[in-house]
Each structure stands twice: as structure tokens, then as C-alpha cells.
Assembly symmetry: C3
Homo-oligomer: 127 residues x 3
């Protein structure tokens, strides 16, 4: 299932940058995916998180983001995970304003399902 | 400590595929551990998570799984982390039915404690 | 933002081992950072987590740690992530006593923001 609720908290399962049933990118930052591409993929992944949250709550009006974990498939030398994650953070604040602010952790992982460059997991609440 | 409770939520510490005091596997997916072995290790790790939850709650009858994070030690080329995690998800649903359904994130990490191929962290509630 | 509150829970954003505006180390365990250095970096990262929690709650007296995720930038061969994380866990218990006990997960990641060797994320409550 793509989310689970506990009281007012909604745990959103890790989302990949799928759009229209297609994974929009493949590969590893620092090797075969550039920063701007990864930022676009992060935007798509967080849009998918928001879609799950909206479906869980019945719209985005009452959604408040709590925590976001951004996984970026990275070489050992890549250190710009925060710049990838910033694209997702900025989108949340653009869409939700103050409710979009969140505690964030960005890390570089060895690889992700289906060789996606980005995966995002989120916790939010229904205000 | 192996878990911490907050209200009705139980945070289970990351569990490795130990059985009878022995770690059942070592290594990295895509290099020296095959998919079926990793799925068996994921089953053992999630059984260990359930044991912690059962001890915290006093049995599994009232346990509802909320979120599961599955870490799979992976090469940069490995992309089947979801198939590893599916083995743990299926076990939870086999054991707990609807209460076993959960929001899941599967990622591929560089390495894990004691060179375990799999580690699983879980949040659950006492219904 | 560096934290987000939900009821009595405080989600602390991933903290790097910054001190006085400077990141105290760079690199990967198993290649260019030794264990004792990483343990010192883990202590600094968790001190930064505590500073966020103290600011959120208005002091540490009422802070109880719930869960800690310790990310250690690691080679595929490195397997001592738990020994790195132990330094952070021990500091929490030294400072907070029983309130410092927590459910922990330690993993080895490919790389971290700004090539930090360690990053720590925490959930705590205001007792």
C-alpha cells in the first residue's frame, strides 16, 4: 500500500519519479545523471508523494509536511545530495506554503529500485 | 535498546538477519549474494522485527505495522531492492493479515553492520 | 527548517558534524576516514541534533530520544557502522540518562552531503 495512517499522521511509502507509468530516469549521480536532471526527478518523486497524501487526506488543503527523506543514488565522490533535495523542498513550499516546511534528511545511496536516481519518503499530517 | 514506545507507536531498531545468535549471510547484492538468498535474509530480519514488536506489546494480536524501511547492501548496478523487500512485506501480511499492511521504502546501501546483506527498521502500533 | 513538531514528537532534520560553521571531516569509512575519527564526528553530529531538540523544546530536561538513524559513508567492505553509531548512542545516554535510550538503525551509505562521513537524524519527544 502506498500509505499508512496513525492518528493524524500519514506515512507515505517511498516514491520513485514515475510519470504516466514510466520511470523518468535511471542511473547514478556523479557518473551518469547530472544535477539538473536529478532535481527534476526529485520534483516528480515529491509530486507523487503529494498525490498519495492528497488521496489519503482527501485533498491537499489540510496536509502539513513533517519529515522528508531524500535518497539519491550516488558515487562515493558525489556530495551534492542537498542540492537535489532542495528541488523537492522548494516544490513543497511553493505548493503548500508554511504547511510545506519540513525536517529533511538527504543521503547518497548505492542504488535504488529499478535503478532510479532518486527516491523520496515522507511523513505528513492532516491539520 | 531494541525498541522505543511513544503513545501507541513502537519504533523498532534496525534488525539484521540473525538466527540463534548467528548472522545468516554476508555481502552485497549484485556481487556476492543472490536474490533468493537475500529474500530469505529479509524474511529473517522481519521476523526479528516482529519478535521485538511482540515483546513490546505482549503478543502479536494487537500489532499493526505502519512503516518499514528495507536496506539492501547493493552494488551501483543492482536494482531489484523491491524484490528483496517484497519477501518481508509478504511475510508481514501472511502473519498479520490486514494489520500487516504498511508503507514501505526499499533502498540499496553501500554496506551494513557486520557486512549483513539486509537490515530492516519498522514502526508499528498497538491497536 | 531544522525540526518539525507533531504533538509531542520532534522530528530533527539530518545533522552533519558541523562545529563553528565548519564541517569537521570529509570522506568515506574504509577508505579515507578511520574509526576513531568517525566516532568523534558522530558525537558532533548528535550534539547538533541535541541542540536542535533543546531549541525546539526549550532545554534538554524534558527531551526523550525515540529513534536515531545513523548514516555512515562507507565502502562496500566496511562493516563497523555500529561502532560509529555507538559513540553517538553513548553520548545520548551520558547526557540524558534513561531519557537518552533509543531505537537505533545504523547503515552504510555511498556518500553524504558535502562528503561528510556521518549524518544523524533523530526523533524525540518532549516528556
Amino acid at each position: 500500500m502506498n500509505h499508512r495512517k496513525v492518528d493524524s499522521s500519514i506515512y507515505v511509502a517511498g516514491q520513485l519519479p514515475y510519470k504516466g507509468g514510466e520511470l523518468l530516469g535511471h542511473g547514478i549521480l556523479g557518473r551518469d545523471v547530472d544535477l539538473e536532471t536529478a532535481r527534476e526527478l526529485a520534483r516528480q518523486a515529491v509530486v507523487n508523494c503529494l498525490a498519495v497524501a492528497a488521496e489519503a487526506v482527501g485533498g491537499l488543503d489540510d496536509v502539513r509536511i513533517v519529515q522528508m527523506l531524500v535518497f539519491v543514488a550516488s558515487t562515493p565522490e558525489f556530495g551534492q545530495q542537498s542540492m537535489v533535495a532542495d528541488a523537492a523542498s522548494e516544490l513543497l513550499i511553493d505548493v503548500l506554503g508554511e504547511n510545506g516546511r519540513h525536517a529533511r534528511t538527504a543521503i547518497g545511496v548505492a542504488s535504488l529500485p529499478r535503478n532510479s536516481p532518486v527516491e523520496i519518503q515522507m511523513i505528513c499530517t492532516a491539520a
